[in-house]
Amino acid sequence: MMTPEHELLFTLTRRHFFGRAATGLGAAALAALLPRAAQAGGGLEGLPHFAPKAKRVILLHQSGGPSQLDTFDYKPGLAKHRGIDLPDSIRMGQRITGMTSGQSSLPVAPSIFSFQRYGQTGTWVSELMPHTAKIVDDLAIIKTMHTEAINHDPAITFFQSGFQQPGRPSMGAWVSYGLGSENENLPSFIVLLSQAHALNTDQPLFSRLWGSGFLPSSHQGVKLRSGADPVLFLNDPPGVAKDTRRSILDTIERINRIKHTSFGDPEIETRIAQYEMAYRMQTSVPELMDLTKEPETTFENYGPESRKPGTYAANCLLARRLAERGVRFIQLYHRGWDQHNDLPRDLRLQCQGTDQPTAALVADLKQRGLLEDTLVVWGGEFGRTVYCQGRLTESNYGRDHHPRNFVMWAAGGGIKAGVRIGETDEFSYNVTADPVHVHDLQATILHCLGIDHKRLTYKFQGRHFRLTDVHGKLIKAVLA
């Protein structure tokens, strides 16, 4: 709970970025003022609430809403309903988006992809995901995720912040705020973006998805970008050599120390420390991004695109390197999963671009022993409708947004491998057993990190806000 005392303390120290509360701070007064204020990593006192199973999270967000019907939710019985209007007994008057509410019919479109059973668990996986199929025994698959929004903006905002409307902190910001960092040279919350493989128009993303909402802005996700400056303005300007920069920083520090001596403001000490951290980042980030020391086999495993900076495959590889370095919350966004039309072509392209690196990441973490304390979560903001958007033909169809059931999977720290949660009806339109709400997943992710989702709160506008609002039950069945 964020007491006013905590709030005072945090506005005073503001050291969440790397979370180092007291490191490098000489001010005795401050140290006296902040007894056990924060742990070495900069999280809140009393956190984690209990022994964590996972120390970090890799969230592989597939933006746009991947089709559950063409990947994991196998519905062989649909063939016989092909082309018929979705029965009212299934739709039950539930709202649908403005994109298909005007259609004269909602014809059922079975998946054109073939499914097979894989692994000891005998899990059905479509032909689009041959690599994920190989690691399927490591995954806990939830077929009955459901959400409240039916359009991208509110749905993805809801998934990331627990609320459909803007203004709340994102999941990574909450975790950064609660737990701080394990690596003093890298931000605790890192975001990696990659662009669609699908050819059709893509859905946008918003910086609020990794924003800090009402939490101090130092908890917002830091984007690691491909290109010269992986972190904004990381590189010194042209013509400023390393020793020149060092001398500049030394001079700044010397004058700041003179200031501190006469003014006594602990904020000056903090600034001195932050300039040093910036300098260290100039080494730690390029070292992180430098893949030249990765063996050939790495690239073979993650696939050919992993050599191309900024791709999903390259980001998966970076996610592993970030996990190795103890970054707390690693958030990937891959765009392009919004198959309103041309689903057979575009979903295939999306899977071709992501299936192999996703599976490689899980396997790689496992082989390195990192999967034990890294939680990996895969999925989008909602699923897709069984009925066709636009014209249903032999070879082509599209699917609209579907919030009532979709598939996500989790693996690694705190998760029981191989469990399968939930049942959907024969149209993959409604949950028939064991629904899992987005807030439940959020509560579970926090739980794996040793956080009681009801107790990680922040007082804003008089209210103790939390990621799961006033909801969220642990998904006990997936917990190891």
């Binding site: 050819l199 932050q274 506008q461 209210r463």
Partner: protein, 1047 residues
């Protein structure tokens, strides 16, 4: 232990004036935060039928004077954990100190008091103090009385250099110039400080500085925020805001105009613009979103913003249920919402810029042109008498009825009418076929046409077209939305790359406002990148979703000069991209539409596709594009629909009518174009209005737009004064109610926020929450005194600011001792002056101002300064909308004040956000102040700062009055910090300079590289190594803690 320690420290700051426990300051916050959730205003979740938010309710659990017999105390101090309140499941718990406070309060008689903020403030008598000589005005009396009680002494007055810098930033957002500093430092006459204050309050930059604060509250931005997040224009409202502050509009009028300017009798244009305050919220038009859902969100946002900005109330908490802490029921929320639910807005809007309702704001010249166009249009329209035209048109149709549609047939190699199949009707039997997917035939340009989704591929025989000999291609195209796409391809893969022919739409160009237009490209590809003939339409662009006739003719020469492109029957100018096709180029591949051999596959409609083995003449192309479609319509019996009837009329008036009608029609069309162009130039601004049939408002179950409950009428919560009786319950009445002197909140909230602006913290720290969960005021009497003073002064904002900044408290120096830091770490008691990092905007403006780069133009549209590439594009929807690609400005626009930076909500200005600027999605009442390494990277490496450092260096090096390096260092130091460096600082800088000069003399190449950063050319008269070395010295100065701090 920790909790106790802090409770004491914190309690000390907030402790009451009188001995004994103060209910409002000490007790209510404990009850509110820990008990109200289940024992508070929300009846739906109230437990044990006990409420502790009212005196009557609480008395049931309290026996005054006897804590041991009070159920409240018994339960919070219960030895058995399961019985102790608050229950473990709540996640809440009381500290020992809090339990002790409750005990003492009960034992002292449990005196109850109404929540302080809901009682109208009365002007208290200022307290008596000992150190009277320190006091400059009544503000000081209140502060000093408290300090004396605490045994603390105020700090000395800050040096004048510090004061002028502090004041300049606080009142104008800009640093003082060295001349201004000197003038003030040397002004030894009495009243120098007050004169300085008055000068700054009169500066036109005062309005900008005050607007900066208000823009966060108003959630001002230049994009809509939701989903596509495209461009909007609210800068005319921002301009109004700056003007309003500069003319010191009284705060009550300022309030009325922003909430209900449109409803004022005979509202002026400015008053209507002011009402745009409540149109600054985010707006959505995501495909598939449900209008009512978002229209509801807009209203909720207005309630949130209005309640926060003027009342410090968290009304939003009562959207889904009764407020958990404050006496605001869910019904109250919707009654308040009803004031804002009567505009003519639509739920989904904004695709084309501003969303309804909005006002056009033509300048005088534009208005004159508009009037002239309208007058001419009126006159020309009168010449085209509908009845006469109708008669003539009918006669003409009768005359032409028997004509068979005519089109060129000589040299026709293949003709696909595409009226339901891919047959060739030229008689050559070169039929096409569907390769994958299937084609939907539907209404087309000529009878039916063929629709391609991106999974459809059609193929036509190779022999239909041979571009190595004379040829023509003629086709109607409606292009769907793609990033650029081939229409027709005749390609094969050769060893070096693609070989063959393509007619394609190139990557689209962004046109004014929303439109995206593709240049048309004709490509003859020779199999490797070095061998190709590519021409592209120079000015013409094919607008997405438009329908046009395209003809390509070629003379078979394989040279650019031999190719022509016609659009809708008229030749268009071509640019030659490449003209290196080798001799003997031939292609024998089949023709395809929809294959993704290169680029995205075609999506859209194709009609009347023809191939000829000769170049068609201009007359023939015009026949195909203009007359033939009309002749087909004329020759087709049956009833005409509106579209075909319209097309006939258009054709007739363009080509066949008597000359006087044709002329009138031509000019009408030209006037229409001119008017469209003009209207696009005229800025608009979104405003509030009242719809002709206002929407009804309902209580929404759980805040959900689908769960309509009781219908409600506009009204205000009962704990606040009632609306004036006899007035219509609308926004105007609401605004006047807010600014009535009896209102307990408006003035307090306003003066508190200005206090926050100047001191870093409000007297009520939670400036957004004056309710039960907010922090009680640290100096309630001072707050009340200021609030009453503010109202009685006629809501004089400049007067209020003058009062605060002329206090002795404001003028203190900001050094802090370890003892004081421990006593009052946040400086709530103000035993020293405020010292805080500058807001994001001022960090940047200070660097630009010190360097001399700052362009001080006030107002106007937002600008796009330097920004790392890709920050918008990596997130954006990407096409067919505005504000998707960052097109950086140049020249003066790079150096405008940061407050004019284009604010895209989903990707707000990176360098500003790093310094805690909000994304402006919601009303923000106070910003965090963080201190992070990312900030260091900005001020060290962002080209804005590197260029500013270079310019600052050039400024001091070119200053003839600075005759040696020490003088130059002093000068630069003063430009950045307003003071001269101490000897010790100067010594450090001298050493650094020697080091930098040495480094760049050894490496002049590096010097030139550094000087090339930024678009302003480097000062050529200064040799590169020297300027580079000084640039780094200036970077040092701009990065000092003091430079980014108001101290």
């Amino acid at each position: 232990m920790l909790r106790l320690y802090f409770a004491l420290t914190f309690g000390t700051v907030l402790a009451a004036a009188a001995p004994g426990v103060d209910f409002n300051r000490e007790v209510r916050p404990i009850l509110s935060d820990n008990c109200f959730h289940c024992h508070g205003p929300d009846s739906a979740t109230r437990m044990a039928n006990l409420r502790l938010d009212t005196e009557e309710g609480a008395r049931k659990a309290i026996e005054a004077g006897n804590s041991a017999k009070s159920r409240l105390f018994v339960r919070v101090s219960h030895a058995k954990k399961p019985l102790r309140m608050p229950p473990p499941a709540s996640g809440l718990s009381l500290t020992d100190a809090q339990v002790d406070t409750l005990k003492r309060w009960i034992d002292e008689g449990a005196k109850w008091d109404e929540h302080w903020a809901y009682r109208a403030p009365k002007r208290p008598a200022p307290p008596v103090v000992n150190a009277k000589s320190w006091v400059k005005n009544p503000v000081d009396l209140f502060l000093l009385a408290r300090l004396e009680r605490e045994g603390l002494k105020p700090a000395k007055a800050a040096p004048r250099e510090t004061l002028i810098r502090r004041l300049s930033f606080d009142l104008t957002g800009l640093p003082p110039t060295p001349e201004e500093v000197a003038a003030f430092v040397n002004d030894r006459a009495t009243g120098a400080y007050e004169r300085l204050v008055d000068r700054l309050l009169a500066s036109p930059h005062y309005g900008e500085r005050m607007a900066m604060e208000w823009l966060d509250l108003a959630r001002y931005a230049d994009t809509h925020g939701f989903h596509i997040d495209s461009h909007r224009d609210m800068w005319p409202w921002r301009d109004w805001l700056i003007r309003a502050f500069n003319r010191n509009q009284p705060f009550d009028q300022f309030t009325v105009e922003q909430i209900a300017g449109d409803l004022l009798p005979d509202a002026t244009l400015d008053q209507k613009i002011a009402s745009g305050f409540n149109r600054n919220h985010m707006i959505n038009f995501e495909g598939g979103a449900i209008p009512e859902e978002y229209q509801t969100e807009y209203v909720v946002d207005r309630v949130d913003a209005t309640a926060t900005v003027w009342m410090g109330l968290t009304m939003g908490c009562a959207r889904c249920h009764d407020h958990k802490y404050d006496p605001i029921s869910q019904k109250d929320f919707y009654r308040f919402a009803a004031f804002f639910n009567t505009t003519s807005e639509e739920g989904l809007d904004g695709r084309y810029g501003n969303a309804k309702p909005f006002l056009p704001l033509p300048n005088e010249a534009q208005q004159q042109r508009l009037d002239a166009i309208d007058a001419k249009t009126e006159a020309r329209r009168a010449e085209l008498d509908d009845e006469v035209i109708e008669l003539l048109l009918r006669r003409w149709q009768r005359e032409r009825f028997d004509h068979v549609p005519a089109s060129p047939v000589r040299g026709l190699r293949a003709w696909y009418e595409l009226d339901g199949n891919l047959s060739d009707i030229s008689g050559q039997f070169r039929h096409g076929r569907v390769l994958t997917g299937d084609i939907a035939f539907g209404a087309g340009s000529i009878r039916n046409g063929a629709n391609f989704d991106s999974a459809t591929v059609a193929e036509f025989p190779a022999s239909a077209l041979d571009v190595s000999r004379p040829f023509s291609v003629s086709v109607w195209v409606r292009a769907g939305r793609q990033q650029g796409q081939p229409i027709l391809q005749q390609l094969e893969l050769s060893s070096g790359g693609m070989k063959g022919f393509e007619l394609a739409l190139a990557k689209p160009r962004t046109l004014p406002r929303l439109r995206r237009g593709h240049p048309v490209e004709i490509r003859l590809l020779g199999g490797d990148p070095g061998r190709a003939l590519i021409v592209r339409s120079r000015d013409y662009v094919f607008l997405q979703n438009d329908n046009h006739h395209l003809s390509v003719t070629g003379d078979g020469s394989g040279r650019a000069a031999g190719l022509r492109l016609f659009v809708d029957g008229k030749p268009v100018a071509l640019d030659v991209v490449q003209d290196t096709l080798p001799e003997g180029f031939r292609v024998e591949a089949p023709l395809t539409i929809g294959a993704a051999k290169a680029g995205a596959p075609f999506k859209g409609r194709i009609d009347d596709l023809r191939f000829y083995d000769r170049p068609l003449g201009e007359g023939e192309v015009e026949q195909l594009a203009v007359r033939y479609p009309v002749e087909v319509v004329l020759a087709t019996p049956g009833k005409r629909n509106r579209e075909t009837a319209g097309a006939l009329r258009d054709y007739y008036l363009k080509h066949e009518a008597p000359e006087q009608f044709r002329e009138a029609y031509r000019e009408l069309l030209a006037l229409r174009e001119e008017r469209i162009d003009l209207v696009e130039e005229i800025p608009t601004v979104m405003v509030m209005d009242e719809a002709e049939t206002p929407r009804d408002t309902y209580v929404l179950g759980r805040g959900d737009y689908t769960q309509k409950g009781e219908k409600v009428l506009p009204g205000v919560p009962a704990m606040l004064p009632p609306l004036p009786s006899g007035e219509k319950a609308n926004r105007l009445t609401l605004a006047r109610w807010l600014t009535s002197p009896e209102h307990p909140l408006t003035a307090r909230v306003a003066v508190n926020r200005y206090w926050q602006m100047l001191f870093g913290f409000g007297i009520v720290k939670t400036s957004e929450d004056f309710g039960s969960q907010g922090e009680p005021p640290v100096h309630q009497e001072l707050l009340d005194w200021l609030a009453v003073e503010f109202v009685e002064s006629g809501w004089d904002v400049k007067g209020l600011i003058r009062l605060i900044v002329t206090s002795a408290a404001y003028q203190q120096q900001s050094q802090v001792t370890p003892e004081l830091l421990e006593r009052d770490p946040e400086n709530r008691l103000l035993a020293r002056g405020p010292r805080r990092r500058l807001p994001a905007e001022m960090v940047r403006d200070n660097a630009l101002a010190a360097s001399g780069l700052l362009v001080k133009t006030i107002g106007g549209p937002s600008v796009l300064p330097y920004q790392p590439p890709g920050l918008w594009e990596e997130l954006a929807f990407g096409e067919a909308f505005t504000a998707q690609e960052y097109e950086q400005d140049h020249g003066d626009k790079l150096y405008r004040r940061a407050m004019y930076t284009f604010w895209k909500r989903t990707a707000p200005p990176a360098s500003l956000v790093t310094f805690d600027a909000p994304d402006r999605e919601k009303c923000t009442s106070r910003r965090a102040v963080t201190n992070t390494p990312l900030q260091a990277l900005v001020t060290l490496n962002d080209p804005t700062y590197v260029e500013a450092a270079r310019h600052l260096a050039a400024r001091v090096l070119s200053d003839v009055s600075a005759r040696n390096d020490d003088m130059r260092l002093r000068k630069a130091f003063q430009l950045v910090t307003a003071r001269l460096p101490q000897a010790q600082e100067l010594r450090v800088l001298r050493g650094a300079l020697a080091h930098q000069v040495g480094a760049y003399q050894r490496d002049p190449e590096a010097a030139r590289a550094l000087l090339a950063v930024g678009e302003k050319p480097a000062e050529a008269a200064i040799e590169a190594p020297r300027l580079a070395a000084w640039t780094n010295i200036c970077t040092i100065l701009l990065n000092l803690d003091e430079s980014v701090t108001k101290e």
